[in-house]
């Protein structure tokens, strides 16, 4: 019994032809017997055959039904066995292959939608969703300070404050601090390299719950002041500089001129802080550092069961008591914590989620298109379905078959989409903004594959179920009677119209958002940064302390540092192709840091309430090199940069606006860092914190008054940047063989990089919106074409009754335009609410920007109505005679 069924099924599957032949033979036998019967009743042989066939009915349909039944076992007791599924897939596959055009359109539409979603999700997964590579990473928090008096919200900690929090808190089970110096790495055989260091306190690795992948962590004595200099390498530096050679453990390198032993290498996924190349013990004690110096990052681990709110309440209490105990330094200072994940990715979360939402909407629009195509296709197969149902095929079988077909389509689309996403991954990675945190995590992995699969199945069910249910519910007998020319019922047509309207509305929402982002970006690019970026090349230099002593007692006379800088500028200026050269501790678009100051002759302010100003130490040629105009007074000149020069500064417009509203700034004196300096000039505002932030008050002292060992060299040149860079490298090497250059760039590139996140969001959003508009245009085109096809007869009647061609044209266009305008109106209405989520990404544009809304409406109206014109024109070409003859 079992064997017999198995054989039958196998034969049906492997050799359908022999099954077909048997069915044919059986039916032929029947017809011949019946014909013989009629002959016996006296009919002529020819009439007998005809009568037999007439009696049998639709031979071909019976044959097809038998063929299907001999392959598909109808579900018994509702069990869907593998073989049934295989048979359904086979049937679906055949029917899809039979209509390659339909299949190609559907699969490629879905591939685009699912591929775009997969690519976007790989970014969201890698950046936002993947847990940080630390033990129980949701317990980790970053601690910050704020300053009510100056209105800052996120400042680094001071070392004494860190120790106070460590000793007094009741909510954290571990606390560590770190700071991130740039370090020059020198080895015997290779060029010196500037690396990102992280000096970390004793408990750092314990708090994070990580250990080196190779070698060991720091020993207790190495964490104390005066302990042996040791370092742990990042996996990146280990690979790039040491070729992944495990024997580096125990080898000595020079860091800032100090012979340091490599004791360990971290795992590739451990990157905290993100760009760190090498970790060193901080070797501090509880008496290190001053309370007024806010230079360290603090990371903590919450105790089990302690919420972030409780951590923050506890920190607030500690901060309040510190305010009282250390009034001079801590007045107005608060403390707060945020989860480590938020600290890393909160800034990009809104734009990434928005993009994912946008691309999901694109997929939804694609689904609507596919659903409409499937409904149209189902309609043309309605008769077949009706007959099969009349012959006893259960409706569940029909529904299942439509679903299987839809799933086959969506999975094919998903597979192709995944392939596209995978192939496009390099392109995507290249287009990610350099500032995107955790970008190294982005890629196609198990989670992304799962997402893609779920999305494919969900879309298949979504667009497959609609036509399937409608078909199985609909009055099949009625459609059997209606015959080939059955027109769409008005309810059905309305459903399709609603779908297309929603589709257009969705597209309009996306296009409005994209329009606002584009307008923001254009506004941002029109912002005058305050300097001329063209033809300026910049490179960062860090002088190691061992050869360039930073003696506190002799400040600001750091002879070695000053000599190097002087020689560097002289050599750079005399290099052919370089028009001017300057030094600065922070170039433009670099926020730099702030310092307290006092203007002479103004009422005394308590030490804790002094204002802070951005201090931007420069060499005199800085303004000329960057094309920053002097508005009043004079620029700094070489005479101001000698050791014995009287201290002078230049201030920016924002400084004058804030502190010299009705007073004369030139000649005024202000003290800062123990020096009293005279204001000799006012320069134009330059943007420090990205293009979107207005300049803050800033002062420009010279290096002679405030020497620094880390600075940028900026040169104005008309030559190729790379050639200039090679020359600068040669100059520094001639001055100091062991000096590392880093951060080579042009100011134009830096300007572009500062808007790269916005550019990324805008480009992707624009692409998604364009895709959505294209899809919805195809959608309305499809619906109108279909409706025109179905209404040929009606148009024929109208025209034979005297309607002119342009009447028919108007008829169709009115129908189409009504859908389009309804969709656009609905879309604009929704956009008014949805753009709320866009608010944080906009710059200089209201989220209700009437121009954007108007342009988008016009664009959408033009495109969609144009899409209706083609079917409308086709309607006018209906030949009344032909149309009526079909009746």
């Amino acid at each position: 019994m079992l064997f017999r069924k198995l054989r039958r099924r196998l034969r049906g599957w492997l050799a359908p032809d022999s099954v077909d032949a048997e069915i044919d033979r059986e039916i032929r036998f029947h017809l011949e017997m019946r014909a013989a019967e009629y002959r016996a009743k006296g009919l002529s042989p020819g009439d007998a055959v005809k009568a037999a066939e007439k009696r049998f009915g639709k031979v071909e349909l019976v044959r097809r039904e038998c063929r299907r039944l001999s392959r598909v076992r109808p579900s018994r007791k509702g069990d869907a066995s593998v073989s049934v599924l295989m048979a359904d897939i086979r049937v679906a596959f055949r029917s899809l292959v039979k209509s390659p055009g339909f299949t190609a359109v559907v699969v490629s539409t879905l591939a685009l939608g699912i591929g775009a979603n997969t690519a976007m999700f790989s970014v969201v997964e890698g950046v936002l969703l993947r847990p940080l590579p630390f033990a129980a990473s949701d317990q980790l928090v970053m601690l910050w300070q704020n300053d009510r008096l100056r209105g800052t919200t996120q400042e680094n900690f001071s070392i004494p404050d860190f120790f106070d929090v460590r000793d007094r808190n009741e909510v954290l089970q571990g606390l560590a601090l770190l700071w991130t110096p740039s370090l020059t790495l020198t080895e015997a055989r290779q060029d010196p390299l500037l690396v990102s260091g992280a000096r970390v306190s004793k408990t750092y690795f314990e708090v994070l719950g990580v250990a080196p992948a190779l070698g060991r962590s720091f020993l207790p004595e190495e964490r104390e002041p005066g302990g042996n200099p040791v370092a742990i390498l990042s996996h990146g530096l280990f690979m790039s500089r040491f070729g992944g050679d495990p024997t580096v453990i125990g080898r000595r390198i020079e860091l800032e001129g100090v012979s340091t032993e490599i004791v360990g290498v971290m795992a590739p996924e451990f990157r905290f802080p993100s760009r760190t190349d090498v970790w060193l013990p901080a070797q501090i004690t509880e008496t290190s550092g001053s309370r007024g110096n806010h230079g360290v990052l603090v990371v903590g681990r919450r105790r089990d069961g302690v919420s972030l709110e409780r951590v923050n309440a506890n920190l607030e209490a500690i901060a309040t008591s510190l305010e009282v105990e250390y009034r001079d330094d801590n007045e107005g200072r608060g403390m707060w914590a945020e989860s480590m994940t938020d600290a890393m990715v909160a800034s990009v979360r809104p734009s990434l989620l928005l993009l994912q939402g946008a691309v999901l909407l694109v997929l939804l629009i694609a689904c609507v298109n596919v659903a409409n195509l499937l409904v149209a296709r189902a309609l043309s197969r309605e008769q077949e379905a009706a007959i099969r149902s009349a012959m006893g095929a259960a409706r569940s079988v029909l529904v299942r078959q439509y679903l299987v077909e839809a799933l086959l389509l969506s999975l094919s689309g998903g597979l192709l989409g995944l392939f596209l996403a995978y192939r496009g991954m390099d392109l995507l990675l290249a287009s990610l903004p350099p500032s995107l945190p955790r970008a190294f995590n982005v890629g196609v992995n198990g989670n992304v594959l799962l997402f893609s699969l779920v999305l494919s199945v969900a879309t298949g069910v979504f667009f497959g179920l609609a036509p399937a249910l409608r078909l199985s519910r609909g009055n099949l007998v009625a459609s059997l009677r209606e015959g080939e020319r059955s027109g769409e019922s008005s309810a059905r047509q309305r459903a399709r119209a609603v779908l297309v309207t929603l589709e257009i509305a969705g597209a309009v929402v996306l296009v409005v958002c994209a329009g606002l982002l584009i307008e923001s970006f254009r506004t941002l690019l029109r912002v005058d940064p305050g300097f001329v970026a063209a033809n300026v090349v910049s490179v960062d230099i860090q002088l190691p302390e061992i050869r360039y002593p930073q003696d506190r007692d002799s400040w600001p006379r750091w002879t070695e540092v000053r000599q190097f800088q002087k020689a560097l500028l002289e050599q750079a200026r005399s290099t052919p192709g370089i028009d001017s050269a300057a030094l600065a501790i922070n170039g433009p678009l670099d926020p730099g840091w702030t310092s307290r100051f006092v203007i002479e002759g103004r009422p005394d302010v308590a030490p804790g309430q002094q204002d802070e100003v951005r201090v931007r130490v420069v060499s005199p040629d800085y303004f000329r090199t960057l094309g920053i105009p002097i508005l009043r007074g004079r620029s700094l000149d070489p005479g101001d940069d000698r050791d014995d020069s009287p201290p002078v500064i230049v201030v920016n417009e924002a400084f004058v606006r804030r502190y010299f509203v009705d007073e004369e700034p030139l000649g005024a004196r202000l003290s800062q860092w123990g020096l009293t300096r005279e204001i000799v000039g006012v320069v134009r505002d330059v943007r420090f914190q990205g293009l979107q932030e207005e300049a803050q008050p800033a002062i420009y002292p010279t290096f002679s008054q405030a020497p620094f060992t880390g600075f940028s060299l900026l040169v104005h040149t008309r030559e190729e940047p790379e050639a200039v860079f090679a020359r600068l490298r040669a100059i520094t090497a001639s001055l100091d063989r062991d000096l590392a250059l880093s951060g080579f760039t042009t100011l134009e590139r830096r300007l572009a990089a500062s808007v790269s996140e916005r550019r990324f969001t805008m480009n992707l959003f624009g692409a998604f919106a364009g895709l959505a508009l294209l899809l919805s245009t195809l959608g309305i085109y499809g619906v109108m074409s279909f409706s025109v096809g179905r209404r040929q007869h009606e148009f024929g009647v109208r025209m034979s009754l005297g309607a002119a061609r342009h009447d028919v044209l108007r008829l169709v266009l009115t129908d189409g335009s009504r859908l389009a305008l309804l969709g656009i109106g609905l879309g604009l209405l929704v956009a008014v609410f949805v753009t709320r989520f866009l608010q944080s990404l906009l710059y200089g544009v209201s989220r209700f920007d009437p121009v954007t809304f108007l342009v988008v409406s016009l664009l959408a109206a033009t495109v969609t109505i144009l899409a209706c014109t083609f079917p409308a024109l086709r309607a006018t070409r209906v030949d009344p005679l032909v149309a009526l003859r079909h009746e």
């Binding site: 036998f29 019946r34 039904e65 039944l69």
Partner: protein
């Protein structure tokens, strides 16, 4: 098919086929003829439904088929009841009796 003949009630075709095959194996044509003979042509068989019904019942395991030579030396596909088919016939038969009794009750009470 002539309108004067009553059409088969939905679902009764299977019962009739099972009943006819209870006594002997038969081919599709023979089954159709037998239904007409037994009912004195009162019931017509829609041949378009007969064959799909046979295939469906075979798939369900109620019937088994084999090719044999008929009395007049023609090859035809013969169907016979399986044991599952026999059980099915039993249950269908009692269902039908209950149904008929119920209808009869209604008709007599009216």
């Amino acid at each position: 098919m002539t309108k004067t003949k009553s059409e088969l009630l939905h679902g009764t075709l299977e019962l009739l086929v099972l009943r006819i095959l209870e006594s002997e194996a038969m081919n599709g044509y023979g089954i159709g003829r037998r239904i007409e003979d037994l009912t004195g042509d009162a019931l017509s068989v829609d041949e378009g439904s007969l064959y799909p019904a046979l295939y469906r019942m075979e798939e369900r395991g109620w019937l088994a088929s084999s090719w044999r030579v008929t009395e007049n030396k023609r090859r035809a596909k013969f169907y016979r009841l399986t044991s599952a088919g026999r059980r099915r016939l039993g249950s269908e038969r009692s269902n039908w009796s209950e149904f008929a009794a119920a209808v009869k009750k209604i008709l007599e009470s009216a």
